[in-house]
Symmetry: C2
Subunit: 360 residues, 2 copies
C-alpha cells in the first residue's frame, strides 16, 4: 500500500538518472532478473529477498516503465476503443462499460473518435497498430471491413460493437437486435391506433437505422397495414438534436391534414430535437403527435413529457465487448462469437392513443 500512495515516499528520484529496474536491483543487492521476478512472479522469489526488493522499490519510488516491457513482449497492454463521437451519450455509456471492464484487468483505454469518417477510422486503427495495442473495441462506421482485416492481420484482435454483419470467423461482435427494437416501437404505436408514422432516420447508410425501419415496417404488416402507406421516412443529416429539430419541417411538410400521428426517431438525440421543434411550432406531444426515440439515454426520462423509447443495455454492451476481447486475449481455445442483446421498449409520456379525428 505504501507504494500505492505516491506522496508517501520522499522520492529520491532526484538522484540524477531515472530509476529503473537496475537501480532497484543494485539498491537491494540483487540482480535485475530478481526484481523482475518480484514484479511478475512473486511466488518464485524467497520471502526475505522479496521484502528487501519491495523495500528498495518503495524507497526509490520506482515505477515500471511499460515501454520496456511492451517492447520485450511485443505488445502493449492497453486497448483501443473507437467510437463515432464521445459527445454522444449513447457512446459514453458504452465507453464507460468498456473502461470499467478494462480497469478490472488493470488495462488503460485509448479512446479515439472516428466521426463517422472512413479516413479517421483508418487513422485510429493505424495508431492502435503502431502502439501494438493488445486489442480493440470498434464501432465501425460502415460495413467495409478492410481496415479491420488489416488490423487483425497484424495480430491485433478486436470486437465489433453494434454491427451484426461480421463474419463469425473474423472476430466477435456484440449487437442489439435493431429489427426487434423497431418492431417493438412499431407494435406500440400501432397498438395505440396510429396508422401514419414518420420514421425520422439518420443517414440511411447506417445499418442500425435501416434495420430499425425494417422492424417498424414489419410491425405494420403484422398489424394489417401497408408499410408503404403507413410509414414515411425522413432522413436527417446527422444523429444529433439539431438535425432532429431541422427534420420537423419535413415531418410536417404535407400540411396539417397529412400530418403523421407519430414520429419514430432512430435516436434519442434526434427525438429530443424533434420534441423541441414540435414545441416551438405549438404542437403538443403526445396530444397532436406521439414521439418515440431509441437508446434510452439518461435525459429521455428527464424531459417532459418523458420520452417513450427503445432501451439498449448500453453499459452492458461495453462490458460484454471487453469481456469477449479479454476471452480472446486470455483463453487459448477462444472461439469467436456473436453476442446479441434484446432491446426493451420503455413507455413514457410522449406516446398516447391516436385521437380518432386529429386536431384539424
Amino acid at each position: 500500500m505504501s507504494s500505492a500512495d505516491p506522496a508517501a515516499t520522499p522520492s529520491p528520484a532526484t538522484d540524477g538518472r531515472p530509476v529503473g529496474i537496475n537501480e532497484v536491483a543494485a539498491h537491494a543487492g540483487v540482480s535485475a532478473a530478481t526484481v523482475s521476478n518480484v514484479l511478475n512472479r512473486p511466488e518464485r522469489v524467497a520471502e526475505g529477498t522479496r521484502r528487501r526488493v519491495e523495500g528498495a522499490i518503495a524507497e526509490l519510488d520506482y515505477v515500471r516503465n511499460s515501454s520496456g516491457s511492451n517492447l520485450r513482449s511485443g505488445r502493449s497492454d492497453s486497448i483501443g476503443l473507437v467510437v463515432h463521437d464521445v459527445t454522444n451519450p449513447f457512446f459514453t455509456e458504452v465507453a464507460r462499460g468498456v473502461q470499467d471492464a478494462a480497469a478490472d484487468e488493470g488495462r488503460a483505454v485509448v479512446l479515439l473518435n472516428s466521426d463517422e469518417q472512413a479516413a479517421w477510422q483508418s487513422r485510429s486503427l493505424r495508431l492502435l497498430a503502431e502502439q501494438r495495442a493488445a486489442g480493440a473495441v470498434v464501432m465501425p462506421i460502415d460495413d467495409d471491413m478492410a481496415d479491420l482485416l488489416w488490423l487483425r492481420k497484424r495480430d491485433t484482435p478486436w470486437v465489433v460493437l453494434d454491427r451484426g454483419d461480421v463474419g463469425e470467423d473474423l472476430g466477435c461482435s456484440v449487437t442489439v437486435d435493431n429489427h426487434a427494437g423497431g418492431l417493438a416501437a412499431g407494435r406500440h404505436l400501432i397498438g395505440l391506433g396510429h396508422d401514419r408514422v414518420t420514421f425520422v432516420s439518420g443517414p440511411l447508410g447506417i445499418e442500425q437505422c435501416a434495420r430499425r425501419l425494417d422492424g417498424l415496417r414489419a410491425a405494420c404488416e403484422e398489424g394489417g397495414l401497408d408499410p408503404d402507406r403507413a410509414v414515411r421516412v425522413v432522413e436527417a443529416a446527422q444523429l444529433n438534436p439539431r438535425s432532429g429539430e431541422q427534420a420537423v419541417e419535413e415531418i410536417l411538410a404535407g400540411g396539417p391534414r397529412r400530418r403523421p400521428q407519430a414520429a419514430f426517431c432512430a435516436n434519442d438525440q434526434l427525438a429530443l430535437g424533434v420534441l423541441k421543434g414540435l414545441g416551438e411550432r405549438g404542437l403538443r406531444v403526445p396530444g397532436d403527435l406521439s414521439v418515440v426515440g431509441y437508446d434510452d439515454v439518461d435525459v429521455a426520462g428527464l424531459v417532459h413529457p418523458g420520452l417513450t423509447t427503445v432501451a439498449q443495455p448500453k453499459y452492458e454492451l461495453g462490458r460484454a465487448a471487453m469481456r469477449l476481447l479479454h476471452s480472446e486475449l486470455a483463453d487459448a481455445d477462444h472461439r469467436h462469437q456473436r453476442l446479441r442483446f434484446e432491446p426493451e421498449l420503455v413507455v413514457r409520456g410522449s406516446t398516447a392513443p391516436a385521437t380518432t379525428h386529429p386536431t384539424l
Copy 2:
C-alpha cells in the same frame, strides 16, 4: 498516401517474422539508420533513397512500433486525460476539445475516470507514470496536490482543468470564473424579484460548488439582501440527475409557505433532476419556481421549458488545456500560466419574474 490506406497493399506481413525497421532496411538495400531518418528527418536523406525506402515501407506494409521509439526517447507521445466521469456531458465536451487538439499533433489520448475518488485518481496518475505519458490534462478531485506533485517530479507535465488554486509555479491551469457565474445567476434571479433562493449544491467539498455559492451570495448583498436569509443551501450527494430529483424533497421541506422562489443548481444535471422532481409534484416551472442550472450542456436547450443556465466554454476549455500542455512540451522558454474563461448567463424559459404572492 498509399501507406495511409491500410488495405491498399497486399501486406506480405505473413513472411513469418514481423517486419521492423531492419526488414525495411534490408529490402531497400539501405541501413536501419537511414530508414529511421526517412521516418523522422526526411530532409536529411537524398531524394532517391528516400523514395526507395518509402517504397519498401509501403510494400512490406511496415508500421512503426511505438514501444521501441518510446523506449529510446524515454517518453511516450500520448497524453493522459483524467476526468471525473466520462458519462457526464460536461466532461465529454471537454474531452472532445482535448482529443481534437491532441489529434492535431498526432497524439492519442488515454482517457481515465477518477470517479471523484482519491484512490482512483492516484491509480490513474500512476498508470500515466508507467506509460511515461508525454503529459496529462487533469481535473483534480480536490485540492490535494500531492499526486500531481509526484507526477511532475517524474517529469510528466500537466495542465489542471477547472480548478484555480494551483500555484503558478507548479503548472498551468485553465479555469472558468465560478464566482462570476454564481454572481450572474444571482443577479438574474434577484433582478426578477426573487428573494428566497435555494442553492442546490453538489458535495460542498467540491471547490466549484462553493465558489458558485459565493457568487450567489455576493449577488444578494449587491442587491441589498441578507445572504443568510435569502439563500438556503441543499447539498446533493452527487452531481447527477438522480441526486437532483432527490433534492427536491429537501427543497420543499419547509412547507408551501416557506417554499423558495427559485432554485439555483450547481450543475445542469442536478437542475434536470430538479425539474423532473418538481414536475412530478405538480409544481410548475417557472410559474411556481424558477430554476437555473450551470454548464449549458446540450440538453439544457432541449427540455421544456428551456433551462436558464450559466454557460461554460466546455470545448474551448479542453482545447486550451491541450494547447498549454503543448506549449510546455514544445517551447523551451515555457512559463506556466493561468487561463481563465468567463462564463455567460443563458436565459431560457425556466426563469420568470417572481409573483408578488406565490401560489399559496
